[in-house]
């Protein structure tokens, strides 16, 4: 009895590489803030034989699909359903194109989502913090020794603006208070995630 044979995997169709790169280019502009990637550049690099209007239509279609997928932050099930529906539409996509889009979304979903969330952050955001702890080792007054002081630098910034640096000083009591507050926040948040 012959064992059933798996048919060899077909190589990815020729059109998949440029499409994948096109999606990357669209993401660069829409989600990663890279305005240098123009339509002309994409056409010249990826689809040099295509006529400009033809390319524009392709780019618009792909951009629209990516926008729908990103805005809904689709999981794999939703994505499959969505793409399958697109292949059945008039003027939709081919199943090869659907496969390329699916692969692209799987790879870029987290990064694109993060970028979209950032687009809705309009206030200062805590970007970074640095600190050091100093200790008096010598003093005229013995009781002043062993009082450590923490110096903390916090970087606060907005999208596209220069950061503001806050330099603060904490004694041990204040650090302890701060830690207590942060623990309260942590507790409050874990309650939130339990109920959602």
């Amino acid at each position: 009895m012959a064992a059933p044979e798996q048919p060899p995997q077909p190589p990815p169709p020729e059109g998949s590489k440029p499409l994948s790169a096109l999606l990357g280019g669209i993401a660069q502009v829409a989600y990663y803030g890279n305005a240098d990637i123009t339509e002309e550049l994409l056409r010249g690099q990826l689809y040099p034989e295509a006529a400009p209007e033809e390319f524009r239509a392709l780019r618009a279609k792909m951009g629209g699909l990516l926008q729908s997928i990103a805005s809904a932050d689709m999981d794999l099930n939703q994505l499959e359903a969505f793409l399958t529906a697109q292949t059945k539409k008039q003027g939709g996509i081919t199943s090869d194109q659907a496969a390329v889009i699916a692969k692209f979304w799987k790879n870029h979903r987290i990064k694109i989502r993060e970028s979209l969330i950032n687009q809705s952050r309009w206030d200062n955001v805590l970007k970074n913090m640095n600190w050091r702890v100093d200790l008096k080792s010598q003093s005229r007054h013995k009781d002043q020794i062993n009082t450590p002081v923490a110096i903390v630098e916090m970087e606060l910034g907005k999208n596209g603006q220069e950061s503001e640096f806050l330099c603060l000083e904490f004694d041990e009591a204040k650090v302890s208070q701060m830690l207590k507050k942060l623990s309260e926040i942590e507790e409050s948040m874990s309650l939130l995630t339990q109920t959602t």
Binding site: R113, I117, D134, K136, I151, E169, V175, M178, I185, M189
Partner: protein, 212 residues
């Protein structure tokens, strides 16, 4: 800071590259050699009135905090009878003075010694007090927080993203409002816990050392 740089160059041209002869011991917290612009400032500041001095101090502090002070400098130039060159000396000298004082860790920053250092630079003790109070770092007086969950945004139809909003009031009267993404919050919490641990460790270590 352009004014500070101009002052430095001008002071160097004046030939005050070395610390004053009679002082020998050097500039205390400024190091073994008093920077040229600080010396030049010390001389020039004798003729400056208290009000003008306070305004110059404010401008210097703003500059150290990275704020733009071209306007304020212009105002001072117009209202006092100081020449541009004099202003350059004064501001650059004060800038260096404060910057060096601030660079020292607070624990080594002893008030009495600072007062003495300033006296040696020939400035009245009262102005020393004004400088001293300005050069402490602010501490957190009050911290309020809020956890928000973004349900939907113009970019993301289904966001469901929690975020922490903090409002910090400092001892210098300023208030700062900022958002802390969840990942950054964990980092913040970890760092604060680490700071506390370091402080405890340091205390234990020095107690052990000092015991005879």
């Amino acid at each position: 800071m352009a004014v500070a740089a101009a002052g430095k160059a001008a002071a160097a041209a004046y030939g005050h590259g070395e610390s004053g002869g009679g002082r020998g011991a050097g500039g205390g917290f400024l190091g073994p050699r008093v920077p040229a612009e600080v010396e030049a400032m010390a001389r020039g500041v004798q003729d400056v009135g208290q009000e003008t001095f306070r305004r110059l101090l404010k401008v210097t502090v703003n500059a150290l905090e990275g704020k733009d002070c071209k306007e304020s400098v212009k105002l001072i130039a117009e209202s006092s009878n100081l020449s541009e060159e004099q202003l350059a000396f004064l501001i650059s000298g004060m800038y260096t003075l404060l910057r060096e004082a601030l660079r020292l860790p607070l624990s080594t920053f002893k008030q009495e010694v600072f007062k003495e250092d300033l006296k040696e630079l020939r400035r009245p003790a009262s102005e020393g007090t004004a400088l001293m109070q300005r050069s402490r770092l602010p501490s957190v007086q009050d911290l309020k927080w809020r956890v928000d969950v973004a349900i939907s945004t113009s970019s993301l139809a289904r966001a469901l993203q929690p975020s922490i909003l903090m409002m910090m009031k400092l001892s210098d009267g300023t208030a700062h409002r900022f958002e802390v993404p969840i990942a950054k919050f964990q980092e913040l919490r970890y760092n604060v816990a680490l700071i506390l641990k370091e402080m405890n460790d340091l205390e234990k270590r020095s107690i052990l050392k000092i015991q005879d």
